[in-house]
Amino acid sequence: MDPVEPGDWVTGRPQQLILLTGLDPTNRPLHNVLLAAFYNRTPDRPAFKVRLIAGDADLPQKTKKKKTRGILRKEWPNKYLNHVPALVVLFMDLDWDHPSWSEKLLEASSKTESLRNSIQHESRLLVVLLQEKTTSFPSEGEEKANEFCHHCQMSSKQLFVVNTAGDLSSHVGKLELAFHEHAQAFYQAKIKTIRSRSIPNNSPELLVRQMFKLGFLSELRQDTHTALRNYKLAYDHCQNSQNNWEMADYFEWRSVAGLLNYKICELYFLHNTPRDAITLMNKHMSAFFYGEPGNYPSAQLAGIEYSLWKSKQSWQFAELFERAVVNGLTAVAAVNPGTFLDYASTHFATANRMIRELKATSPISASYPNPDPLASAVDFYGQRPWRVGPLDTATALHLERAAIFALQLRLHENHDGLMTLLSAASMQYKKYGCPRLHRKIMIESGDAQAAAGKPEEALKLWTHVLREGTLPENLRLTLLNKALWSSYCNVLLKETMWSVIQLLRVEPSGTLDPLHQEIFMKICDAKTPANPFSTQLAENQVQHISMLWKQKLEESQFFTVNCSKLSTFVQVSACFLQTEPVSVDMQVPLRVTLTLQTSFPITFSGVRVSAYHCESSGRRIGTADDQATFNVFRSNITLQPFTPSHFYFAIDLKDSASILKEGHLVTIGRVSLEIGDRTQKGVFSTFEWDGNALGRERLNLLDLKAYGQQLSVRVVNMVGTITNIGDKNIDCLLAEIASAKLRLKNETNRELSDVRIEFKRSEQASSSASSVLFVDDDNELRGELELAVASSMKPGDEVDRALQFSSQLHGSVDLLLESAFKISGEKEVQKGRVALTITSEDPFIVRSQVLTLNGIPVTKVLNRSTHLLKVDLKSNADIEITRIDWLLADVVQNALSIYSENDLPSPDVLLKGDVVSYCTPIDIFSQEDSEDEKPLGRMVVFWRRCGSSFSVRSTVPLCRTVISTCPVSINVEVGAKIAEMRKPLLITYVLLNNTLEVIEATTSFDLTDTFMFSGDKLRSVRLLPGVPLRIEVTVMALAAGRLSFPRLTIRSPSIADSILLDALRNLPATIFVLPLAKEYQS
């Protein structure tokens, strides 16, 4: 009935059997050592199994086997493993020069003789002589050996001589190799004889048997490849003969096929070709797992037998597989030992089911038959105990019937067996990271437990799987129904509810099973629900169960279902309605959204929201999980199908202001719906959703609506802050004292005291912010600021405060002012931020240039000569200029400075866009005569905005100019203060040679008719370095008014005309001549 155990022999590799005799370990230490050497086998040495026997008596005798039909004798492999030796080795202590040599010879021959006679199965006989001394002449040994062999009628190949004086282990090694050779020969011979046996009309049984024997002997020959080949042949024979099997023999054939398959797979793994093993196993399954179970001894029994066999097959393979893995094979999720354990358990479960059915359908009243038809031992694999030995049909039939009874009586569902298989499988799946497969096993385990009559266990498993979620829908529902069934039938109130509220969930389009609704409603108002499963139960069971329910519901029941990981009849989400941090004295509003996911309205006795307070890390503060810091509750709510209803609550932090610290989080930890009345008798059920569930409800991966997901808010001690609702962007002129009108509002809901505004350079985001200076209360400019704003402000109060500052940098600057204040009645100072942007521009644009004395702009000025400096200021706003100072460079001497060092007589008022010009004559005097640009210095402008009292001192740079060298500088002196008409006027031209060489030059006058002239018109002069040369001429103006000044020209071979021309340009262009003075003489 149960699948056949192959026997111990299959475990472990087959080893060659060698019998030793003639050794006496107890009295002869030498022998003992020798024996020990043989006994301790190491893998590197030939695969022997050595056994010591006393003498021929212990040699196995041929046994007469009864002639019965069958494929493989169970005992056959043992025959070669434990009984029939490949070799029998006789040990003798015999030196060549033994004093009584001839007696010894006789003794030896008799021993060998008797052994030879009692040896069956052509086992080989070997003799080993143990000698103490070596002979000096090998030839002598030769001789003696021959003599010995001759006496004992054996070939010299069978004789070995070991010198016990020498190194024993090396001898043993040699011996073993020799033994091995002989043993191989022995098995080879066996194989030959077996192969040579002719098989009458190729009966498959015999063929298979032969192939198996060949295979096994090859294994003994340590020739696993040949073995594999033979086993395969045998297996193929089984498979091919499949169709001609007689039903009575199915079991036997399958047993053999199974055994062969096992051996083959084992060898595949041994040869490290696991793929072949797995393919073969799959082939094996498809070849042998889908046949007809047959109907012997009876249809049901055959079926059960078959499933058990399949299960066994898979399990055995799993064993091999796992062994291979232990030896270093790597398996994968798709194929691993678990896969086959899984199969095994499936078939095993089927068998259990069949047994259950069999027991249910045809219960046996008869007592166990006697004599036991299953008692007798069987010779063959898969042989039926009741078919051992030749029987006449009548007895056979009778026995058979008895056997069927016996079997059925013996049969029982083996739940433990199934559970072991399942747990083994699940461990494997865990190991290879297959969560879903693992879940599958858990479901099956659940079924097994249920079958074993342990509904609680089953439920545990099922509910666990269901919690994992992501099960295919139909599967999920079936599982839920199972859970409902099992919890209902076992009157488990909470579990029933657990299953039913999930089953209640339907699509808006879907249809609700009225049954589930009925159970739910009934339980809610503590009435016994009619048994939904009455069809599947016997009448008395139905009554019994509903009776139990009645009892249960009579006393009041409290239970809580945690719905967090389930998709149930209500969809719950919750969130705080704000993102900002909150202060301990505030109420935090939150919203709970409940959507009924079933098609009938439900009224709950209340919805409760529990919030916890956690450290900033999110770790809960406080001990017990159910100790919520805040609880808000609303009673009697009714939900309509599939319509979200929002409930708004406010958590008042004041309630536990004492424990809330800065930085804590307040987190919505649980929403629970209640049905029933805690105080009344009856059923009071609570359905809970914990934090993650509440957040998780949003399944739209692409939803950005951040605030909707806020499950916790951060607590800060800050109670609102102070904001500036006045000027935020101010334009000003560079360096002026501008003022910003701040209007500070108390946005907090508390009375504030000691409100100040501070500016700290260290706090600033923009580096340029430090370029702003502030006017403090004592009119001092300061880099940092601290301003008292108000001694106290009530909530909503507004205070104006002008902030005077001056920006030293043009462009716009962002300032971060800090507001500091105390909440009245509290020590520590609160801080807030007030942002301010300042954009400043220059008060005026400066343009400056150099002119000749005649007022002609020049790009380059002549060294050692006088010019005019002209500065234009174009104002950018309405300003007054109160004073200017010249700060001229040292190349310039300020010929005369007009209003130096004191204010303008009256300030120059400029409207936006006006231009004012200031001039001053300058003498250029540069030591080095380089042609590069020189700065002319700076100008200081004192100005103020019209109407403002603060005046600002701005320093502006003046232009740069090229100073060209001037070899000859020419100046003129006019003899009289006033030039009068028709009065002689002495004009002296002073020429100064600025170089170090003598300059030859000619001077000339171009005469004009406006002047009468006396002096040298044309004259050549020699200018000595540094010595001024005066050329005097006297002229008399013939007309009055502004006449062009008498012009001197000068030429010199050593100086370019252009330079001299420049020099001459400095002479006045015109001269004013008064008319005749007659009139006022008279």
Binding site: L577, Q578, M586, L701, Y707, N749
Partner: protein, 180 residues
């Protein structure tokens, strides 16, 4: 991008802005029941927090997600982060913005900078720095699109645009998590 699309985009921006304006008005009154002044002002803020930017970005997010799914349907498998970024810069960019990006740089620590010197969504503005501020909102939708595409390919990323000279844009992609 085609004219109708540009117009649609403009309209989305318009819609977003208008919505933001009215968002404050239409929050449920019962929220304020039994709340003190300070609190209700916070709620008010919270409910208004759905501003035009979020609105546009989430439109883009969905669009990008779907486009990416469609696009890589017809392309060989894309798995590594780099492959994904390449995909975004080539096939994806071309099919959404009608051109390849002009430059892709990375610090090999999950930060990528995608540069587009002539970004289609900005061509309606005159070049230069003058309108940079006004243009910002026209980058919310594209950001969403890129982010959506990344999300479709299993990358949670922060996408922020910077532009200092229209119509060129730099998208800074800061990869947060590669979900599996």
């Amino acid at each position: 991008m085609s004219l109708p699309f540009d117009l649609l985009h403009m309209e989305m921006v318009r819609y977003g802005k208008e919505k933001e304006a009215v968002a404050r008005a239409d929050y449920p009154k019962e929220v304020l029941e039994g709340l003190d002044k300070a609190t209700s002002s916070l709620v008010y803020k919270a409910l208004a927090s759905r501003n035009a930017e979020t609105n546009l970005e989430s439109i883009g997010l969905r669009t990008g997600f779907l486009l990416a799914e469609r696009l890589c349907r017809d392309l060989p498998r894309i798995s590594t982060e780099l492959e994904i970024m390449k995909f975004i810069c080539k096939e994806f960019w071309i099919s959404v913005f009608g051109k390849q990006v002009d430059n892709l740089r990375t610090n090999h620590q999950g930060v990528y900078v995608v540069q587009d010197n002539r970004f289609p969504c900005l061509t309606s503005f005159s070049d230069g720095t003058q309108y940079v501020k006004d243009a910002a909102i026209y980058l919310c939708f594209p950001c969403g699109v890129v982010r959506g595409a990344l999300q479709a390919l299993g990358i949670q990323a922060l996408v922020t645009p910077t532009t200092d000279q229209l119509p060129s844009v730099k998208f800074h992609i800061h990869i947060k998590t590669k979900l599996t």
